[in-house]
């Protein structure tokens, strides 16, 4: 069979069940919704104007981006040493340790988030520990706010960052680092001036991946943030299932999609400019 005929099922699936439905959000986003009446005819940019000017929406958009940035930095700082260790260790347990990083990734997302509810609640384990250690006097609020979402999302997306970085660090020939050491560089400057720059493509693609996944996440922000502490995806969820305002929800969906696509496009350009294959 020719190559294109073999591609037909997969391409047809994506065009019909992915591209067409997402494309059909565009006309919906240009309609207006009247409570108790429904979606009315006529074309309007109102949904976009409100989304980009109303302070309620701007706060949610800002919070979503702040979470994306925060989680990306946290997973990078926490994950880099782990990836470095797993990429360089000669331990015979290495493959099993890698699987241990994969395990949380394969475990049901709702289950993992549920664990954090138990940990972060008012009388949860984290608060018990903090009070027992005398760090705080009363319970600290760790659910339904930025801190809770940061902790939960960092945990959820850390494995992605580690796995991408392992691949990048493994691709760096050890000789390059050894050469720097032989030529008199200290371990620190060899790391900062050789290893770290050479792992930049991995840092870039890992960061973009985690950022994109964080701003798209629904389950964890919903369960740890509740119905009041909203991010973009929980806003879309409520717009479609609670308020039934599909036009506004479509506009929000397309804005989120645009943010993701722009980020991926920019990272691709950045990777090409620096001559690194991300």
């Amino acid at each position: 069979m020719s190559g294109w005929r073999l591609l037909v099922p997969a391409l047809l699936l994506l065009l019909v069940v992915f591209v067409a439905p997402v494309g059909m959000l565009v006309p919906t986003s240009l309609r207006s919704y009247v409570p108790l009446v429904g979606i009315t005819g006529g074309v309007t940019a109102r949904n976009y104007v409100r989304l980009l000017t109303d302070s309620y929406y701007l706060e949610i958009i800002g919070r979503t981006l702040a979470l994306g940035l925060g989680v990306t930095c946290a997973t990078l700082i926490i994950g880099y040493p782990v990836a470095f260790f797993l990429a360089r260790t000669r331990s015979r347990w290495r493959n099993w340790l890698t699987i241990l990083v994969v395990f949380p990734l394969m475990l049901n997302l709702v289950v993992r988030t549920f664990g954090w509810i138990a940990l972060l609640a008012q009388n949860g384990l984290v608060n018990q520990a903090l009070q027992a250690l005398g760090v705080v006097d009363g319970p600290v609020k760790l659910l339904f706010n930025f801190a809770g979402l940061m902790i939960g999302l960092t945990h959820i997306f850390l494995p992605f960052m580690v796995l991408v970085l392992i691949g990048a660090i493994q691709n760096i020939p050890r000789d390059v680092e050894d050469a720097a050491r032989v030529l008199g560089a200290s371990w620190g400057s060899a790391f900062l001036r050789v290893t770290l720059p050479l792992s930049a493509p991995g840092i870039l693609s890992g960061s973009i991946l985690v950022f994109v996944l964080t701003i798209s996440a629904l389950v964890t922000p919903r369960l740890l943030g509740g119905p009041t502490y909203q991010v973009m995806s929980t806003l879309i969820y409520d717009e479609f299932l609670q308020r039934l305002n599909w036009p506004a929800g479509s506009a929000q969906s397309l804005l989120l999609t645009a943010m993701v696509l722009v980020l991926i496009y920019l990272s691709g350009r950045l990777a090409r400019r620096t001559g690194a294959a991300a």
């Binding site: 073999l6 994950g79 260790f85 994969v102 289950v111 549920f114 701003i215």
Partner: protein, 263 residues
């Protein structure tokens, strides 16, 4: 070389801490599921298996488990068929524009799941496909195909095309050569892709939650809504079962396939 040894130990300590952080919620859930109390508490007070019995006796949970397994099987069979064919075209046939096609097939990996969910909610409403099993399975195929393509293309790149040529020269037809020579060679990749596909479908919430019809319920959506109503140890019990099953599945996959190569 004391500085080097100090570095090594600091690195190991950091790695141990991070692994502890990764496993923390898992351990907490497992412990909480054995508590005798009707509220969630860690460490557990007393020891009981009654929450496990409660979950397995609850027809809603049993129905959700069966439905999720059937849906994941359907999506996996579908995405394996489409994904293996596409991978073969991309690697062996070297179709024009291959890299662009591969990028397109991978797009759902980074696309917001919630957007796919709401887009299909509207699309299926127009087609009167809301609440159909086929509609749900097709939606799950969109998000599982990329995993199959990734694992299978990796396997195909490592398999020698000359073996298939040899079979063709010796008179085997194209399909016979594929099914008797190439497919056995790439079996680890196909198995890894199938496992990924099953797990991704079985775990999905953002797409399923918008598309489930009356009388339909998947396990993760059931747990998700149960948590929104209030947490209790039966949620910890079903979670513990998933933890054990996932752990066993992954251990088997690592032993048989060297699963770490495909992530």
């Amino acid at each position: 070389m004391t500085a080097a040894r100090l570095r090594t130990w600091l690195l190991r300590a950091w790695v141990a801490l991070v692994f502890g952080f990764l496993m923390l919620p898992v351990v907490v859930i497992a412990l909480a599921s054995f508590s005798r109390t009707s509220y969630l508490t860690v460490p557990p007070k007393g020891l009981t298996l009654r929450w496990f019995a409660a979950v397995l006796a609850d027809p809603e949970y049993v129905h959700a488990i069966v439905f999720s397994v059937l849906l994941a099987l359907g999506a996996t069979i579908g995405s394996l068929t489409a994904g293996v064919a596409a991978s073969f075209a991309l690697i062996r046939r070297r179709v024009a524009g291959g890299p662009a096609v591969a990028a397109f097939l991978n797009a759902p990996l980074v696309f917001p799941g919630v957007v796919v969910g709401v887009a299909l909610l509207q699309f299926y409403a127009l087609l009167h496909m809301n609440g159909t099993f086929v509609g749900l399975a097709l939606a799950h195929m969109v998000i599982t195909v990329p995993y199959v393509v990734r694992a299978v293309t990796a396997s195909l790149q490592g398999a020698d095309p000359e073996l298939e040529h040899a079979a063709r020269v010796l008179g085997a037809s194209g399909p016979v050569a594929f099914f008797t020579v190439t497919l056995p060679l790439i079996r680890p990749g196909v198995a890894a892709g199938a496992l990924f596909s099953f797990i991704v479908s079985f775990d999905n919430v953002p797409v399923s939650i918008f598309l489930l019809g009356a009388g339909q319920m998947t396990l993760p959506v059931k747990i998700f809504t149960a948590i929104e109503y209030g947490v209790d140890p039966s949620i910890a019990a079903i979670s513990t079962m998933l933890i054990v099953l996932t752990g066993l599945g992954l251990a088997v996959a690592e032993r048989w396939l060297g699963f770490h190569r495909f992530v």
